[in-house]
């Protein structure tokens, strides 16, 4: 039975989460286009912003896409995953609505402060603090309150995943946790553990500081708290994509998941290792001993393991599907996959692009080699492959498959949908390769006019090609990405507005069981209490002493007053 008929309440929840997420995606994507053109100097004079407002656009792009779009999509997607895999409705749907409303209010507050950069007539003050909101850059308090409400809202939504699981466990005392629910719970254990850092940063320091209750904050401490959350958050984005790759993608390929236990091992490793790695974003920060940075580096490299396990398991599952469809050969089986099906091609291409992102992630993680590309445009080049494609494009694929099931409406504009993932990947390939190469040449990130000072491209030293060619690729790539996004939104809006009950859907919601099921794996894999406890110990090892060192000279010292932007 279609999801909407079986679980109408939950389908409505998923729809609302996806709807808000898509609005954020539309606005944030438009900002991305403006940014790509302004920064590269193409059509700059036609753009409705000046150089100062570039940072408004940059903040909006980062916050709306990396925090708002992701969190809403994830919370909605997980409602579906828990309900479907436990085969029972949520235990407390009102709790989820509460969390949703908290997230909407928080998003609205933060969005108003960001848009203040264009229209100072709006309430509150402005918040051009960029996605990382590093002190001493100071935003209006409403921005921080909004961010806190967004995080807390996700916690409330997450609580019902656990409550629903508990109700299911009471009825099924001896069963293994269904894989999708296991993945959801593991992701949220990691999320609770890591987002506590940003919650402390915002609630204990930034809100009182922006209200004027305390005069200064310690920038190093607040940055450390941010990155305590700031790296695990990328796994908060990634793990839902993994959930889709492990459980939906094999089915779309016409096959079965290769190994259920391996998938569980991967998620357990993420619970353990996601959080004690944040210092690898702070390799150039003074005030943190090299040894602790080294611990973060080794933990980061250990995190390659679950991602490489994923690459193997997911590709093996796709191959299973291809061979069931008649594919053969060492490489030739790839042709047998249903590339014309947008839900499949979006997710599979997202996985392919993520493999390239894995490479630049390895460079980022290396303590010495990181210095080569730190704070250059290489870094945005990297995360546009990961969150910008591995997550975003996967969620678009999920939407092509899931939105018909949660609305009861046939997918519209299917030709547009079929070409959309390919346009995205072409655009991303142009943009991201140029960003990586520009970073190697020293092109800075977070800069409205990187070629300023009349010297043009002269100070930069590309290995291959020229800076102007890279700038052009970024501009064209960004434009193609925006076109692709517009195609996606056209399909979604068209589907959403079409009439329900117009006949058979083009998608099928059943998910076959794995080739190698959970019965083959040790039960301790399902014991999240054990893994949580070990994760906490690892966090204490990685963060205990450095945090103590930062606090020992006074919680707010050495401090800095705020610079409102």
């Amino acid at each position: 039975m279609t999801f909407i008929d079986k679980f109408p309440t939950e389908a409505k929840l998923v729809r609302w989460h996806f709807g808000v997420g898509f609005v954020a995606l539309a606005i944030g994507g438009l900002f991305g286009l403006v940014q790509a053109l302004y920064r590269t100097g193409h059509l700059r004079s036609l753009l409705p912003i000046n150089a100062a407002q570039y940072y408004t656009v940059l903040t909006g792009h980062g916050v709306l896409l990396a925090l708002v779009f992701t969190t809403f999509l994830i919370c909605g997607f997980f409602v579906w995953a828990v309900t479907r895999s436990l085969d029972r409705p949520l235990s407390h749907p009102r709790l989820v609505w509460t969390g949703f409303i908290s997230m909407v209010v928080g998003t609205t507050l933060a969005a108003i402060t960001i848009l203040n950069g264009f229209a100072p007539e709006l309430p509150f003050g402005s918040a051009n603090v960029l996605y990382t909101f590093y002190p001493p850059l100071q935003a209006h308090p409403a921005f921080y309150v909004g961010a806190a409400l967004l995080i807390v809202g996700s916690w409330i939504v997450g609580a019902d995943y656990f409550l629903t699981y508990r109700a299911w466990r009471a009825d099924n005392p001896d069963k293994r946790i269904p894989l999708q629910t296991f993945m959801v719970l593991a992701t949220f254990v990691m999320w609770y553990l890591s987002s506590a850092g940003v919650a402390v940063e915002v609630v204990a320091f930034l809100i009182p500081w922006s209200m004027g209750w305390i005069s200064q904050v310690d920038p190093l401490l607040t940055r450390t708290l941010f990155w305590y959350f700031g790296h695990p958050v990328v796994y908060f984005w990634l793990l839902p994509a993994y959930l889709a790759w492990y459980t939906i993608l094999p089915k779309l390929a016409g096959g079965k998941l290769f190994s259920d236990p391996l998938a569980r091992v991967v998620f357990v490793l993420f619970v353990l290792l996601s959080t004690p790695v944040g210092f690898h974003h702070q390799y150039t920060d003074p005030g943190i001993a090299e040894g602790f940075k080294f611990i973060a580096m080794t933990n980061t490299f250990m995190l390659l393991l679950p991602s490489l396990l994923t690459a193997f398991t997911v590709v093996a599952s796709l191959e299973h599907g291809a061979r069931q469809r008649g594919g053969s050969g060492y490489i030739g089986w790839l042709r047998a996959l249903p590339w014309g099906k947008p839900s499949f091609s979006a997710m599979a291409l997202a996985g392919l692009v993520f493999a390239a992102g894995g490479f630049s992630g390895m460079i980022n993680a290396g303590m010495n080699i990181n210095y080569l590309i730190h704070n250059t445009i290489w870094v945005p080049g990297h995360f546009h492959l990961t969150v910008g494609t591995a997550f975003a494009l996967t969620m678009m694929g999920v939407a092509y498959w899931l939105v018909p099931q949660i609305t009861g409406k046939r997918l519209q504009h299917r030709t547009l949908a079929a070409i959309q993932p390919f346009v995205w990947v072409i655009g991303m390939t142009l943009m991201s390769n140029a960003m990586h190469r520009g970073g190697l040449a020293g092109l800075p990130r977070r800069t409205a006019k990187p070629l300023f000072r009349g010297e043009g491209a002269a100070p930069f030293d590309p290995v291959v090609g020229t800076i102007s060619e890279m700038q052009l690729q970024i501009a064209i790539g960004g434009t193609l990405l925006f076109v692709s996004l517009a195609l996606f939104l056209a399909v979604m809006v068209g589907t959403w507005l079409s009439r329900p009950g117009m006949g058979r859907l083009s998608v099928n919601g059943s998910i076959p069981s794995a080739l190698s099921g959970p019965a083959d794996s040790p039960r301790i894999l399902d014991n999240l209490k054990v893994w949580t406890a070990i994760a906490v110990v690892l966090v204490i090892i990685a963060y205990g002493l450095p945090l103590y060192g930062m606090l020992a000279d006074g919680v707010l010292a050495p401090g800095s007053p705020g610079f409102p932007v």
């Binding site: 079986k6 191959e319 859907l505």
Partner: protein, 429 residues
Amino acid sequence: MTRLDDTALSRRGVLRAAAGTATAVAAGTAATGAAAAQAYDGWFSGDAKGGAVGNYDGTTVDRTGTDEVTIDVGVDANGGTYGFGPAAVRVDPGTTVSFEWVSNTHNILIDAQPDGADWGGHDPIENTGFTHTHTFDTEGVYTYYCNPHLTMGMKGAIVVGGDSGGGGGGGSDQPTVAADYGDWFTKSADGGATGNYTGDTTDKTGTDEVTVEVGADANGGTYGFGPAAVRVDPGTTVTFKWTSNTHNVLVQAQPDGADWGGHEPIENEGFTHTHTFETAGVYTYYCNPHLTMGMKGAIVVGAPPSGTTGGGGGGAAGSSVSPASTLWTAVFAGAVGVAMLVPVAVSYYRRTPAPDSSGAFDYEPGGDTDDQPAIPEADAFEPDTELGHDEYDPVGTLSIVAVYFLILVGMWAFTYFIEFLGNGPTIMG
């Protein structure tokens, strides 16, 4: 108008400019606050960016009464072909100015222009023979420069309108001052918004002696200057009269050359502090104990610019928006608004039952009921040959993973051995 220098927006430039407005260091707001006021605000002096301008001798060439004026770009000056000729010129409103390139590799970027002016300059670098024209309609002072040769002192200024009757007297004598306080009275500045500043500047020009109350009822107590903003003539003596207790007067910003020291000791009711304001420009000041209550004030010395009233202020730092971009912003905001409303409108349209649409029904989620059938899904995929666990050997996966590893190793070796060891860290350079 605190105009963030558009071209100085390197990453650090933004931080600096933001910090300048926020902590309201005197240099930041004061110097630009009186921008339209006098002597091109030091634009041709060695203190401004780019340094002194060799071919500006203090005179402004008067070209009023002519409809078309030519300025040469790249005349011999400043140790090469690095001058605008003439460097400073006065024209009537509505005059079309032609900039003619007489040497190579110059452009025109705007340093400052009056609110509402829409001159875009000419960003691309051009060579001899190129001409850029613009018609200057908005009165005020425009300052501009050539970006490649800024450090040589290739800067210029145009005065549009004003008291042109006297001829080539030079822009330095203009006594008009706009009542522009930047964000001083807004919540973005230190101490937050000033409750008793309504956007109006009390005009006390024509009076020799003016009184400002210190500690007037405002801002939730006796925490106001009364009036908060006042305009006086140069040479006016202003008496600050304490009308409640524990206040002082600290100067936040004043024009270059002004010598007001404020009154730092904290005084009580009955105390007076007087100062004669000679230098034209905008002065901002506050009471330190009650700054956070919004106890801030401003004095404008000089006549209002023609066509403006005493209002102003309020603009956020850095958002210097020309009319053209205001239009774009409106279009942009409108487009976003329309885009967000479209789904609502269309869904209303689509919800209305279409006549005779076969097979359609008013669907309510919940499955197969008396009124409606359930929504059917597509059939699940059934493979021709089912491949079980033991028959499946993922050799294709192995091939792909092997290829991926080879790529990874190759790219890593390139990045480490060639880029990293060969070039060294870019962040240090």
